[in-house]
Amino acid sequence: MEKILTKKSFPLWVKELVSYKIYAPQKNGDLWNFETIKKPESINLDFPNTVLPPKNIIFPQREVLLEFESSNENKLQVKETLPDDDPTIIFGVRPCDAKALTLTDKVFSGDFKDPYYWKRRNSTVLIGLACNIPPSPNCFCLSVGGSPHSKEGLDILMTDLGDKYFVESLSEKGSTLINLAKPLFQQPKAADKKAVEKTQAEAEKKITRQIKDIKKIPSILKNMFDSPLWDEESLSCLRCGICTYLCPTCHCFDINDEVASSSPVKGKRVRTWDTCQFPDFTMHSSGHNPRPDRASRLRQRIFHKFQYFVERYQNYLCTGCGRCISKCPVGIDIIEVLDKVRDYGS
């Protein structure tokens, strides 16, 4: 379904959606992040990239998996704590961040479908906003199979056409939302479609960064496990978690028991984000750590994204949002690292 929505009508549409929990990019200080909105008028879709991707709405940094408590007979009672499945809408999802969710979908599916992830995922409608201007100077979505107007993973894609949005419904969930406020939407004219095509073509041209010959990378990496390159490239790495915590595709987690009382035993089992960049990520209880240094941790990040994941799911675990480049406190640049990998192979 393709429609036109004027910018004036946009808040009216949002008003029709009040039964949903609505997230949209909100500005706090100099930073944009996805937050729940109180007023429909407060949605401003003219924003650069959010610091955090909307990943944490579907896969929160902290998730309570179960609660436990010992009863009178000294038996342990365990209660599963599934998240609420309140219908949720996220406005302003960038195509790269939406695509990232299709990748984490793969991870949380398989033989065991993670109920915590899927409960949130299934109750959330993703309304995307095509990037007419790259939201970050380090955008490189075109190199990893995405585009500034990719529809992958989205329920609706909106394209800004000046005083109106071109609204394209891509799923049943999306159509439902449009049908809730049918009179606000108009049929697009041929000129509108042309304008969309033109904007999209121009948007692609504005993306300046790219990974050349990315197709070669997975096979080159295969022979690079023991390469001295990792030592060289990780010299300035600080072992912080910025690159992975801000990544829309990184999904590693840790599970801990948060014990509120030891007698009687009472507490919660909690899942929190974890990252391969922390020294304790693969620390064994024997004291041995198979990834003892920065080099092996940088290698793990690159291999997971451009080798292991490709072999297993035929996709790069990277959607080119550029957050890890922009926010790295010492300027480590994943594109540069991959350039060196490619040079190494040739």
């Binding site: 200080g29 100099d30 930073l31 610091v51 955090l52 940094q61 902290r62 100077p137 380090n138 960064r209 010299l235 300035s236 600080l238 072992r239 912080c240 978690g241 910025i242 915590y245 801000l246 840790d254 801990n256 948060e258 909690v270 929190t272 984000w273 974890d274 990252t275 922390f278 020294p279 304790d280 620390m283 209880s285 024997s286 004291g287 041995h288 920065r294 480049i325 926010k327 406190p329 010492v330 300027g331 480590i332 640049d333 594109i335 540069e336």
Partner: protein, 343 residues
């Protein structure tokens, strides 16, 4: 003004004469405006070295990695590491020397003076130029920065785009060095606690609301800890495991490891982490401002550390990073230390 050619000449000399293992300095990043840390091993690479207002990093931090690496080597190279330091970085070095974390022989110090300026704040620059892309930026005359954009060169008064920490810096030249580039000029009339004093005048509840909002943003990426030259503990209270674990450690010992801070990024846990970090930096933080710069969520961490810097100065007359031979703030005392708060 720092003469880059002289700096390169000296770097070339010490590498050629094999006086140092390698040099930690700054080089232009291949993408964009900012510099990145450079690890120069051969005289041929010296050309890469640069010095401009984007040299924000505190390279002293990398001595921590160097020490750890060296400890693992069977036959370590005992030569020093060449290190380029600004004023703030040199004070961090003094604290590491004071704490005997490193020896003076471990490092050959190439000091660069910020003179009347300092390093810039990326965000301030972006705001001033309203998104215009910068091609180059260098130190100019009269405390100006010369910024080159596609429209040509413009001069911007350094004060407008200097990092906040530089505006409040009270020693903008290296306090220790083997060779110094630039002049030891002290900038005048700066109040090192200006932003802090403004904040202190708020009411208790306003301060609480502020810190709660700020620390609630924390995602515990630990960039503040990782970028800090003073955060060199082998084991941090915020980590969930004990790095002192060896093959012989018993299960019981492991089970009894106290979990001071949960991994969950919630108010109570974030506060314990940040309060512990702040107090552990008391009398050690030299306000290089790297924690605040690194924070992806713009938590004003300097405001936390500055408070204890000010109290150390006012209560105990102690300033960190000027003298490696005095005992540290919390390993010393005076009979006349204030005790009016004690019952």
């Amino acid at each position: 003004m720092v003469n880059l050619d002289n700096l390169k000449k000296e770097a070339n000399r010490i590498l050629k004469e094999e006086k140092v293992k390698y040099i930690i300095g700054y080089k232009k990043s291949s993408n964009g405006l900012f510099t990145v840390p450079a690890f120069i091993k051969n005289p041929e690479e010296v050309e890469k070295l640069t010095w401009d207002p984007t040299c924000v990093y505190n390279l002293t931090r990398f001595l921590v990695d160097e020490k750890r690496k060296k400890a693992k080597e069977k036959e370590p190279d005992e030569r020093p590491v060449g290190l380029i330091v600004k004023g703030c970085d040199s004070r961090a070095l003094v604290v590491l020397l004071q704490e005997k974390f490193i020896n003076r022989d471990d490092v050959y110090i190439l000091g660069v003076s910020c003179e009347e300026t300092g390093v810039l704040d990326e965000k301030k620059l972006a705001k001033t130029l309203k998104g215009k892309k910068v091609k180059n930026i260098e130190f100019g005359k009269n405390d100006n920065f010369v910024v080159t954009t596609k429209d040509g060169k413009t001069e911007i008064p350094a004060k407008e785009i200097l990092a906040e920490r530089c505006l409040e810096c009270n020693a903008n030249f290296p306090v220790i060095s083997d060779i110094l580039f630039g002049e030891k000029v002290k900038r005048k009339s700066d109040n090192p606690f200006e932003s802090l004093e403004k904040f202190e005048s708020l009411s208790k509840e306003e301060r609480w609301t502020f810190w709660k909002e700020q620390l609630d943003k924390c995602i515990r990426c630990y960039a503040c800890r990782s970028v800090c030259p003073m955060c060199y503990c082998d084991e941090c209270v915020a980590d969930t495991i004990n790095f002192a674990v060896i093959a012989e450690t018993t299960a019981e010992e492991k089970a009894q490891k106290i979990k001071w801070v949960e991994k969950s990024p919630v108010t109570s846990e974030n506060f314990v982490y940040h309060l512990v970090r702040a107090i552990h930096l008391a009398g050690r933080c030299i306000d290089c401002g790297e924690c605040e710069r690194a924070c992806p969520l713009d938590i004003p961490l300097r405001l936390l550390n500055k408070k204890l810097e000010k109290e150390a100065k006012e209560l105990f007359g102690y300033e960190a990073g000027f003298d490696a031979d005095v005992p540290s703030l919390v390993s010393s005392f005076k009979d006349e230390d204030p005790e009016d708060f004690i019952r």
